[in-house]
Symmetry: C2
Subunit: 493 residues, 2 copies
């Protein structure tokens, strides 16, 4: 007699009669996905012995492998350990139009922390918060996230372990750990319920699937996949274009005021500059090496008006750093693989390992600057980006990475002078093009967007440094000083 | 008085008068590279204190950062250690049209082995052989590899260390290790000369640049870069297309004979199959887990006629492996990033970590099969590919990876039957298209190409298993058996 918690088993005959149509539907689904502008993340998590691996294998056998990848997370590698936790999940994301199946997913990773103490529980909650944010951010970007929890009662779990052990073909799957986990069923169950609550949200819900009957379980997962994908395809509005951006209205006028109040008439003689520069370069070198010794990485973010001197400032900085320790990432047009991912993926990609340095020449702030102004993304997209950027940087700083953000500020008159100089200097001519002149005509709009950025993403752990840059020497020196001071302060903290 | 070994220093005035034209040329060079179909690898190696880092920094300041990346190799990460040595260099290759600057390059890595014993020296020679092959393979593919050795005499090295120490701005660059290395100048010099000899070849030569005078050194490196790129651009023939492949003539008829001699009339009842299958699945599971316990990875390569049952065979295999331990990599159209690299890059990308499994559904052998037959690559390209593929696999097997290669063989009659069956089975219809029918018409050409592949890439460490596949059950069982046996034998060896 079947136990009360069990469903009535689906007869094999019924199951097999359904398969051909189901497999046909799955294949047609994949064909229709090829032109889809969104990725699918299918997470197969669940109670121990509920058959996560079986389900993953089965889906792989039903789907055309050319559009599917399976990811499983093992112990952290050192390359992963040296970066914020979410880095390993960012690097395992599917391209748009493709399906990723996660055996256990990040959720299983989190549950393995097995938190007991108050501190561990707080860390667990924090981890879940990051995961919830991660899923929300991908879903907001159009990704379809289907989360399956295969549920098995304690009695069914014992029964299943016995069944597996009794069959010589599957006995290997049962280990002593499985029985230990079984004895801890109640605790583990409570913890996973807590995890599901913490990561449940309307657009990334958990789907509980009863797993005691294998055939019903298999059908339920496949049908869920079909239903959710069809619903997602229908719900998605056709791709909107934003060719006529709306007028740029400040969200936080205080930022623009701060910008406008910045004095730009500094003076610094060449000789005074050189003397001070060498002193600060030496200090910077010490600070960067001290950070490396503690395994702390450094991320520099350079934003500023065209011709404000970002490149020159970066070259001065890097002359004080061992060439083997830093990388400069100039942010220009994304590659195809980058375009097929969430916009933050290309920045996560270059997060430095412990003790190394990444310098972003332009950055993720493009989302709320050029993309906002040119209408490259929808209003809802750049509006929520402030939160996304703050969260991204918080994950960096929480991991101990020192984040230095510079806005190089220029007067329109000085920019004009530099544009003209570039046009008449042969080896600088490549640095000026029509786009620069076009951006210049949008000065007021940029001023508003920069102001909002300063107001909404200035945080104690990653403050914005506003650098008056009409005088290049002054700007470079100021950047060196501020960098040294922030790094030194971060190491003392 | 300048020491005899030194060049006459270049006056600062002369140096600075040359810079604007030089920088202009470098920038124009980069503009011309944007449409180039080849990558540039610039290796800056040299004696200690010769200023490798300075030169790298300087080049970075002269070049437009949007087309340049700098790579430096530190201690191996565990993700690197668990793969063949060359994996870390493969993952640091530039896209076509871009420049990668290597501070020290793989050569510095090799020199750091500092070999003394006979065994170490043999390993050193082996490493250099891999590097020489690596460079040759990239150069054959059109890459421009510029290798610079900055040379500094022992006296000049001492002088330079003193100079650096005397200047407070640079004193930090001199460590106790530098002086220790200086005392070992003769030994280190001999070793690096040996390294240069072993990795010197006509299309990837070493360029020795005297580094005692910094300004002359800087100019020499920049001018070398300019000269080599211009020469490379002129030497490269315009991209050839190969729309009319020449008739396919066997290189090694023995391979085709082996193929034709294979009996295809095996019989195996469903019940006999099922009983044996479960036994062998159990054994395979044990074998794979035993390999993982020893940190041995497994690579399966599946090649075969269209409809020969590769997918089905892979699904049977994977049902015996923990879903978290394997990845199936279906080889279809490369992504844009893959296309912008050497053809082997996309396979190196997926080489498994220690104890994991990668299953390639079609593989690098496409180079000598479809690419040869369809004329997708030049005759010289597929002809040298046999060596490249053997070397690639040897690097895997030398690292302890178990490489299993299967050719699933089919009679033309059976293929026809399966094609027709696919056309009439709804959920299989996506698996058959015009290309399959077109390939089928090329049966004879493929037979020749497969024969050559079998003859030229069958090696004791990675033998080809020819599997009669007219009977699917027989084929699947045979693959299980052979896999178990090869893995078990490899673990015993």
């Amino acid at each position: 007699m079947a136990k009360s918690s069990r469903q009535r088993p689906l007869p094999k005959r019924v199951y097999e009669s359904r398969l051909p149509a189901l497999r046909e539907e799955l294949i047609q689904l994949q064909v229709s996905l090829q032109s889809a502008a969104f990725p699918i993340l299918l997470i197969i998590a669940g109670d121990d012995a509920a058959g996560k691996g079986e389900v993953v294998n089965l889906l792989n056998s039903w789907l055309d492998p050319r559009g599917v990848e399976t990811f499983a997370f093992h112990d952290l590698s050192d390359e992963e350990r040296e970066r914020p936790l979410m880095w390993r999940y960012w690097r395992s994301l599917p391209l748009r139009g493709r399906i990723a199946i996660y055996a256990g997913g990040w959720h299983a990773d989190a549950l393995e922390q097995n938190p007991v103490s108050r501190r561990e529980l707080a860390l667990f909650a924090e981890t879940l918060r990051h995961m919830r944010h991660f899923e929300g951010l991908l879903a907001d970007d159009g990704a379809l996230i289907i989360k399956v929890w295969l549920q098995l009662s304690s009695e069914d779990q014992a029964q299943r372990l016995h069944d597996l052990e009794d069959d010589p073909a599957t006995a290997w799957r049962v280990s002593a750990d499985d029985w230990k986990n079984h004895r801890e069923y109640a605790t583990r169950s409570r913890l996973s319920a807590q995890m599901r609550r913490a990561t449940h949200r309307p657009n990334t819900p958990w789907n509980i699937i009863e797993a005691s009957d294998l055939r019903s379980r298999n059908l339920a997962v496949a049908e869920l996949l079909l239903t959710r994908v069809h619903a997602h395809q229908q719900a998605r509005a056709p791709q909107r274009h934003h060719p006529h951006p709306r007028p740029i209205v400040p969200l936080h006028p205080s930022g623009r005021q701060r910008l406008r109040a910045l004095p730009l008439d500094q003076d610094l003689s060449e000789s005074a500059y050189q003397a001070k520069r060498d002193k600060w370069l030496g200090r910077l070198n010490h600070a960067v090496r001290a950070a490396a010794e503690q395994g702390r990485s450094i991320v520099w973010v350079f934003e500023g008006w065209d011709a404000a001197g970002k490149g020159g400032a970066i070259r001065r900085l890097t002359s004080a750093i061992d060439a083997r320790d830093y990388r400069v990432i100039p942010i220009a047009k994304p590659t195809d693989e980058e375009k097929a991912h969430h916009y933050l993926w290309r920045f996560w990609r270059h997060v430095p390992r412990a003790g190394r340095v990444t310098i972003y020449d332009r950055s993720w702030y493009g989302r709320v600057l050029v993309e906002r102004i040119e209408g490259f993304c929808a209003s809802s997209e750049w509006r929520r980006a402030y939160d996304e950027l703050n969260e991204f940087e918080t994950q960096l700083t929480n991991h101990g990475i020192i984040v230095l953000k510079f806005w190089l500020h220029l007067s329109p008159q000085e920019q004009l002078r530099r544009f003209r100089h570039r046009e008449t200097t042969t080896y600088k001519r490549h640095k000026i093009n029509d786009e620069d002149w076009r951006n210049r005509r949008q000065w007021r709009a940029y001023e508003i967007a920069v102001g909002d950025m300063l107001a909404l993403t200035h945080r104690p752990d990653a403050p914005w440094h506003l650098i008056p840059a009409d005088n290049k020497r002054f700007a470079r020196l100021e950047i060196l000083k501020r960098s040294c001071n922030q790094i030194t302060a971060a190491l003392r903290a």
